[in-house]
C-alpha cells in the first residue's frame, strides 16, 4: 500500500504492507527509533506520538490510517539549539531514569498541557494515566509537568 505523510516536518512516501503499524513504520522504515514499543496492548504509552497535534499510541494505529497526516515524534521536539521545554523540565526534575517510557511520556505531557495549560497535580496524574513508568514512581514526572505548566501560566 502506498502511504504519504509528514513526519517532523519532512514529507515521506512509501509502499508498505497493509498491516504495517505506524510505530513500526516510524521505527523500522524511517529509522525514527525514539518512539518505543513497551507492550502489545496500547496500555503503556511508550509509543505515544502526535498525529495532527493530538497524542496517539502509535502501536495501535495502522500507517495506512494516517495517510496525509502530520506526525510529530520525539525526534521532532527539540531544535538544534535546545531541548523542548518539556524535555528540559524532565531533565531538571530528574523525571526519567532508564529513559524507555520517556519519549512517550514527553509526548503525552505536551499534549496534556496543550489541552489544559494549567493543570492541578491530580489533573496531571489523570492526564498521564495511559503512560506507564517502572522507574520513577511518577513523583518526578508529575513534578516535571507541573514545572512547565507553572512556567507557562
Amino acid at each position: 500500500m502506498q502511504i504519504d505523510m509528514t513526519v517532523n516536518g519532512r514529507a515521506y512516501s512509501a509502499d508498505v504492507e497493509d498491516r504495517t503499524l505506524l510505530v513500526h513504520y516510524l521505527r523500522d522504515h524511517l529509522g525514527l527509533t525514539g518512539t518505543n514499543v513497551g507492550c502489545d496492548t496500547s496500555s503503556c504509552g511508550a509509543c505515544t506520538v502526535h498525529i495532527d497535534g493530538q497524542s496517539v499510541k502509535s502501536c495501535t494505529v495502522l500507517a495506512a490510517q494516517v495517510r496525509g497526516a502530520d506526525i510529530t515524534t520525539i525526534e521532532g521536539m527539540a531544535n538544534d539549539e535546545e531541548l523542548h521545554p518539556m524535555q528540559e523540565a524532565f531533565r531538571q526534575c530528574h523525571g526519567l531514569q532508564c529513559g524507555y517510557c520517556t519519549p512517550g511520556m514527553v509526548m503525552a505531557a505536551t499534549s496534556l498541557l496543550s489541552e489544559n495549560p494549567d493543570p492541578s497535580e491530580q489533573e496531571v496524574r489523570e492526564g498521564l494515566e495511559g503512560n506507564l513508568c517502572r522507574c520513577t514512581g511518577y513523583h518526578n514526572i508529575v513534578k516535571s509537568v507541573l514545572s512547565v505548566a507553572g512556567g507557562q501560566s
Binding site: T33, D40, S43, C98, G99, Y100, E121, E129, R134, V142
Partner: protein
C-alpha cells in the same frame, strides 16, 4: 569544592530525552534474520512431534528448527547455567534453550523460526505444527509441596533442596520454651512479573571469516553473559563481545542467561548472518523469569515486655520449572535478614525449594530481601498487638544496641552489620510524617464512624547490599566472586576516561561516577567520560544488581583515582624538584607546601605522562591506574517507611494517601539520583502490596500476562512522596557508602500492609494476603461483621 553530596543533573538525559539513546531493538545489521519462537501452550506435556514443513515453505522464511534439529546441530555444549547450587545435592534438571522431549512450563520454547522480517517471524511461528501429550501439571507452590503430581517426569520429587541456617538449635528451642509471648505469621509472597518497560531483545552479529561474534542484549549483566555464552556454546570467550546498549530498566529480569541469547549467538554463528529477536510483552511476562513466589512462616518468641528472645523462619520457595542463573539462591539472599534491625538472641531459618510447572523464578528488585523485610516487619506488628504496645514502641524496645549508633556488630544470623543508628532514623520519620497527628485523625474517624478509615503502617527495614565479599559468596556456594573493576585514565589533553564494570540501566552511573572522579582528581565532571556495558571497552566486570554498583564499583573507581593521584604526585615531585611528601594536592593542583608558586595541575601532568619526556627514572608512561575492589564486608542500609492508607469500608478499596521514607544509605553521591531510586522502589513495593500478582490457573496458564490485566501502577494510583535521610557511614569501604537501588522496595510492601491491617484493626483483622485487593478487604470486613452481606 565538593561535588559529591550535591544534586547534579544527569549526563544521560539529553540522549534519552530526544530519542538518540539506542536500545537493542533500535540497532540493525545488514542481512539480519528475525527469530520467532514457538512456545508450549501446556504447562507440562510430552512433545510428540514437531512439523516444520509448512512454516519452512512460507514466503520469507529462512529456516525452522525443532529442539531435536538444534540438538543434532550441536549448537551448545551445556544447558543454560545455574551458578548457585545452594547445596551439594540440589536437583537441577537440565534447561536447554529449545526443549526436545518434555515441556515444563507454558512459554517454554519448542521450535524456532528465522524469517526476513519482524512480522514474517511471527507468521511463520504460527505455522509450526506441534503435537503434545499433556501431563499432569504442578500449577502452584502448594501443589508442589503436596507432591501429587511431579513437575519433572524424570525426578521422583518436586523438592529441589533443603537449606538450613540454624546457628544454635538448642538456644532457639530454649528461647521459645521460655517465651511469655509468641506470635506466628504465615505470609504469601505472590509471584510478580518484573515488567521493565523495555522488553528484552537480542541482536547477534557474526563475523564468518574473522570468527568473532558480537551480541547486543538488553542485559544487566554483559560480563557474566560473556562468560556464560562461552561456557554454554563452546565459542572461545576471547571471540565473544557483549554489548548492552541503552537498557530500559532491569529490576532483575535482565539478570539472566536466556534461551534467546544462546539461540541468537549460535544460529548467527552457524548461518553467518545476523540474528535478532525482541520479546512481546506477554513473552516477557511468562517466559522471562518472574520474582518472589514464597510461602513464609515466621515465629517470634518474646518476653513479657515484648523483648525478642528468638526468631524462627521456614520458607517454601517456588523455583518454577527450572533453576535459572541464581534461582535457588534468591531465598538465601534474604535468609540473613529475617532478624531485621532487632537484637535477636536466637535465630533459625530453613528453606525448601520446590519445582513447579510455572515460569522459573529468579531475581526481582530486592531478591529475597523484600520478602525477609516483609516477614519480620509484619510479625513485629503482630507482636506489638500481642504485647499491647504501639508499632513504634515494639520496635524501639528491640533495636540493635538500643537504637544507639554501632559499628561492626555481629547479629544472630552470623553476619556482621557494618553500622547502624536506628533510633534517630525512626524519630525523624515519625516527625516528618506527623505521626502523632495521623494517629489523632485515625481516632477521630473511628469515633465518627466514617466509611473511610485511616491506617498507618511502619516498616523499619535493614537490607544487605554491596554484593559482595567474594569469600562470603564462596561460603554460600555461589559460582563467582563479588568484586568490581575500574580503570581511570587521563587522556593527553587532560580529559578523563573511566572504564567501569558496573552496567547501568537507568541508575545514572555516568553522572555519579563522574562526580566521584571529579572530586578525587579535581577536574570538572563534564571532563569525565564513563565507559561501560561493552566487553570490548570494559573487559572486566561483575555488573549491576543487588544495589552493589556504588559500594563496590563506585568505590573501585575512587580507589583507582587515589592511585592516579599517587602516580601524578611522583611526576609532579620530579618536575618540581621536591620531595613527594612535601606536595599537597587539592582542586586538581599539586603545590609544594610553603612554596605557593611551585605548582603543577594534574591535567598538565597527564600531558607530561603522555609525552614521557621527563618522567622519573623507570616510570611507565601515561597516567592511568586500575583497581579491583573486593569489599571486606557487605553494607547494611536501613530506614523507616511510614505508609498512610484510606480503606473504604463500603468497597474494600485502598487508597495510598501518604508516604514518608527516611532512608540511610550512608553518604550520598548524588541526592537527586538517590531520591529517584527511592521513589521508584517504593512504588514497586506498594504495587506488590496492593495490585500486582502473576495469576495462574489450574492448568498452569498465566492469566494476566499483559498490561491490560497485570496491574503495574499508573500515575493515578500513587501519591507524591515525602523523603528524607539520615547518614551513617559504612565501615565496609573507604567512601562509607552503602547502596539504595532496592531500599524502597524492601521497605514499602510491609509498610503498606501494616497500614491496611492497622485500618482494619477495629474489626480484629491482623493479616491480609498480598495483593490486598478490594475483594479481599471487603470479605474480611464482612466476615468480621458476621457475614451478613
Amino acid at each position: 569544592m565538593t561535588i559529591m553530596g550535591t544534586p547534579r543533573l544527569r549526563k544521560e538525559d539529553p540522549k534519552l530525552l530526544t530519542g538518540e539513546g539506542k536500545f537493542v531493538d533500535d540497532i540493525h545489521a545488514p542481512g539480519e534474520l528475525w527469530m520467532g519462537m514457538v512456545r508450549s501452550p501446556y504447562a507440562h506435556a510430552k512433545i510428540v512431534s514437531v512439523d516444520t514443513a509448512e512454516a519452512a515453505a512460507h514466503s520469507g522464511v529462512h529456516a525452522v528448527y525443532s529442539g531435536k534439529d538444534l540438538e543434532e546441530m550441536g549448537l551448545w555444549i551445556a544447558p543454560l547455567p545455574c551458578v548457585w547450587p545452594v547445596t551439594d545435592d540440589m536437583l537441577n534438571p537440565p534447561h536447554v534453550p529449545v526443549v526436545t522431549e518434555e515441556a515444563n512450563f507454558v512459554g517454554e520454547i519448542v521450535a524456532v523460526v528465522l524469517a526476513d522480517s519482524r512480522y514474517g517471524a511471527v507468521d511463520a511461528a504460527e505455522l509450526v505444527e506441534v503435537s503434545y501429550e499433556e501431563l499432569p501439571a504442578v500449577a502452584s507452590l502448594d501443589a508442589a509441596v503436596t507432591g501429587d503430581a511431579l513437575a519433572h517426569s524424570d525426578l521422583d520429587t518436586n523438592k529441589a533442596y533443603h537449606w538450613p541456617l540454624v546457628p544454635d538449635p538448642d538456644a532457639l528451642d530454649a528461647a521459645f520454651a521460655n517465651a511469655a509471648h509468641t506470635v506466628t505469621g504465615t505470609f504469601v509472597q505472590q509471584r510478580l512479573i518484573p515488567a521493565a518497560m523495555e522488553p528484552r531483545g537480542v541482536l547477534a552479529v557474526p563475523s564468518p571469516h574473522g570468527g568473532d561474534i558480537t551480541l547486543y542484549s538488553s542485559s544487566q549483566v554483559p560480563h557474566i553473559l560473556k562468560v556464560m555464552v562461552a561456557a554454554t556454546t563452546g565459542i572461545p570467550e576471547n571471540k565473544i563481545r557483549i554489548v548492552a546498549p541503552a537498557v530500559g530498566g532491569g529490576f532483575g529480569a535482565k539478570l539472566n542467561i536466556n534461551p534467546d541469547e544462546i539461540l541468537a549467538v549460535t544460529l548467527a554463528n552457524r548461518l553467518g548472518l545476523p540474528v535478532r529477536w525482541t520479546e512481546t510483552r506477554s513473552e516477557a511476562a511468562f517466559s522471562t523469569h518472574q520474582g518472589r513466589g514464597q510461602n513464609q512462616t515466621i515465629e517470634i518468641a518474646a518476653d513479657a515486655k515484648g523483648k525478642i528472645l528468638g526468631v524462627r523462619v521456614h520458607l517454601d520457595a517456588d523455583m518454577g520449572a527450572y533453576m535459572r542463573l541464581i534461582t535457588p539462591g534468591v531465598p538465601l539472599l534474604g535468609s540473613f535478614l529475617y532478624t531485621g534491625v532487632y537484637d535477636v538472641p536466637a535465630f533459625g531459618f530453613t528453606c525448601d525449594g520446590y519445582f513447579t510447572n510455572l515460569t522459573p523464578t529468579d531475581a526481582y528488585r530486592g531478591a529475597g530481601r523484600p520478602e525477609a523485610s516483609y516477614a519480620i516487619e509484619r510479625a513485629m506488628d503482630l507482636l506489638a498487638n500481642e504485647v499491647g504496645v504501639g508499632p513504634d514502641e515494639i520496635r524501639r524496645r528491640n533495636y540493635l544496641n538500643g537504637g544507639e549508633a554501632f559499628q561492626d556488630l555481629e547479629v544472630a544470623s552470623t553476619l556482621v552489620f557494618d553500622s547502624g543508628h536506628y533510633g534517630p532514623n525512626l524519630d525523624k520519620a515519625l516527625e516528618l510524617s506527623d505521626y502523632a497527628s495521623l494517629r489523632a485523625e485515625q481516632q477521630r474517624r473511628r469515633e465518627a464512624g466514617e466509611s473511610k478509615q485511616l491506617g498507618i503502617g511502619l516498616c523499619t527495614y535493614v537490607e544487605i547490599c554491596g554484593l559482595a565479599p567474594s569469600r562470603a559468596l564462596a561460603g554460600l556456594n555461589y559460582g563467582a566472586g563479588g568484586w568490581e573493576h575500574a580503570l581511570v585514565r587521563f587522556l593527553p589533553t587532560g580529559k578523563v576516561e573511566v572504564v567501569t564494570g558496573s552496567t547501568p540501566h537507568g541508575q545514572g552511573h555516568e553522572t555519579s561516577w563522574s562526580m566521584i572522579v571529579a572530586d578525587k582528581l579535581g577536574v570538572d565532571p563534564d571532563d569525565v567520560e564513563v565507559l561501560h556495558s561493552d566487553t570490548a571497552i570494559s573487559p572486566l566486570g561483575l555488573d549491576t544488581y543487588g544495589s552493589r554498583s556504588l559500594s563496590v564499583g563506585g568505590v573501585a573507581i575512587s580507589m583507582a583515582c587515589d592511585k592516579v593521584v599517587e602516580k601524578a604526585r611522583l611526576i609532579a615531585a620530579h618536575q618540581l624538584e621536591a620531595n613527594p611528601d612535601d606536595l599537597e594536592f587539592s582542586g586538581g593542583v599539586f603545590r609544594v607546601k610553603g612554596t605557593p608558586t611551585a605548582e603543577l595541575p594534574i591535567q598538565g601532568i597527564a600531558y607530561e605522562a603522555f609525552t614521557a619526556h621527563n618522567l622519573p627514572d623507570g616510570m611507565e608512561p601515561n597516567l592511568q591506574e586500575q583497581m579491583t575492589f573486593d569489599p571486606p564486608n557487605f553494607a547494611f542500609p536501613f530506614g523507616t517507611h511510614v505508609a498512610v492508607v484510606e480503606v473504604d469500608e463500603d468497597t474494600g478499596g485502598v487508597t495510598l494517601v501518604g508516604y514518608t521514607a527516611v532512608d540511610d544509605c550512608g553518604p550520598q553521591v548524588n541526592p537527586l539520583i538517590v531520591e529517584g531510586q527511592v521513589h521508584g522502589g517504593i512504588v514497586q513495593g506498594v504495587a506488590q502490596a496492593l495490585w500486582e500478582e502473576a495469576v495462574y490457573d489450574e492448568a498452569g496458564n498465566c492469566k494476566n500476562p499483559s498490561f491490560l490485566d497485570y496491574l503495574v501502577p499508573s500515575s493515578m494510583e500513587v501519591p507524591s512522596m515525602v523523603l528524607d535521610s539520615t547518614e551513617t557511614p559504612s565501615t565496609s569501604n573507604p567512601l562509607g557508602v552503602k547502596g539504595v537501588g532496592e531500599a524502597g522496595t524492601i521497605g514499602s510492601a510491609a509498610a503498606v500492609i501494616n497500614a491496611v491491617c492497622d485500618a482494619l484493626s477495629p474489626y480484629g483483622v491482623t493479616d491480609i494476603e498480598m495483593p490486598a485487593t478490594p475483594q479481599k478487604i471487603w470479605r474480611k470486613i464482612q466476615d468480621a461483621k458476621g457475614g451478613e452481606a
